[in-house]
Symmetry: C2
Amino acid sequence: MDCKDNCPLLERRCVKPTSNRILVLKTLTAAARPMSLSEIEETIGTMDRSSIFRVLTLFASNHVVHTIEDGNGVLRYEICDGEDECTLQDMHTHFYCERCHRTFCFKSIQIPSIELPDGYIMHSVNYMVKGICPNCAH
Amino acid sequence: MDCKDNCPLLERRCVKPTSNRILVLKTLTAAARPMSLSEIEETIGTMDRSSIFRVLTLFASNHVVHTIEDGNGVLRYEICDGEDECTLQDMHTHFYCERCHRTFCFKSIQIPSIELPDGYIMHSVNYMVKGICPNCAH
DNA sequence: ATATTTCATGCAACAGCGTTGCAAAGTGTA
DNA sequence: TACACTTTGCAACGCTGTTGCATGAAATAT
């Protein structure tokens, strides 16, 4: 494959832009917050759960999206912003509201880094704050 | 209940120390790393999954243990060290090895704090690093 | 243009984790 | 001893994530 397609986000990652893939990508782009598999399924409505899963898995391994655990045992998917690889750009903090069970994305708040003990190799970091969101605190 | 039992860790939290509860507590204490429900079940062998679950739920709400998501969709339980409440004392970082799927506990590395946007109320934080542990990096 | 291979999709089914209802066993109390 | 309350085990369930398989679509070769 030569990476010359008409969907820039997928093209950049050498992912063949099938209609389903574009659909999933648009759904994720439209949502302000990281979405779960079920949420995507509901939003799209016409696409099979396993197909969405496979698209997301492909996206994740090609750095189109990355995943976070939302603090409730559910995986959520979020579009990678980084130009090149899914790097520090994407290492921002998240907030899980224990009341409304929504996950918020603090893109402007980067994850403070720590120094690991010798021998540990870091691939990614997840910084998840749990609490109550402004809406639910009323 | 008057909190005067013979198991200090449970007594302090006003949890009646039944034999099963002590068993779960000892299992958790003996393990160096945070354990999952299944791990506890296997280790104990004689106790029903749901009973363990209920004990852990009770422990968690009485701040005997706290839970972390291990980066693999599995909940893990860890004994709270804090004297009083489950506070900063317990807010240390964790490491999930993507190769051996074990979760490590960096008790000496505290989670660096961030400033939340207005209106968000923080209850707890999870700082989870994913990568390769020294054993697996060989 | 047609045949052949490759890839993507939908359906069905499954495993594992977390969770609950219910009845029996255990514990404490009057 | 009788009674109330708690704890436990068994069974079952829902949900998330995941895979096998057969069909359909797309790309490639003939």
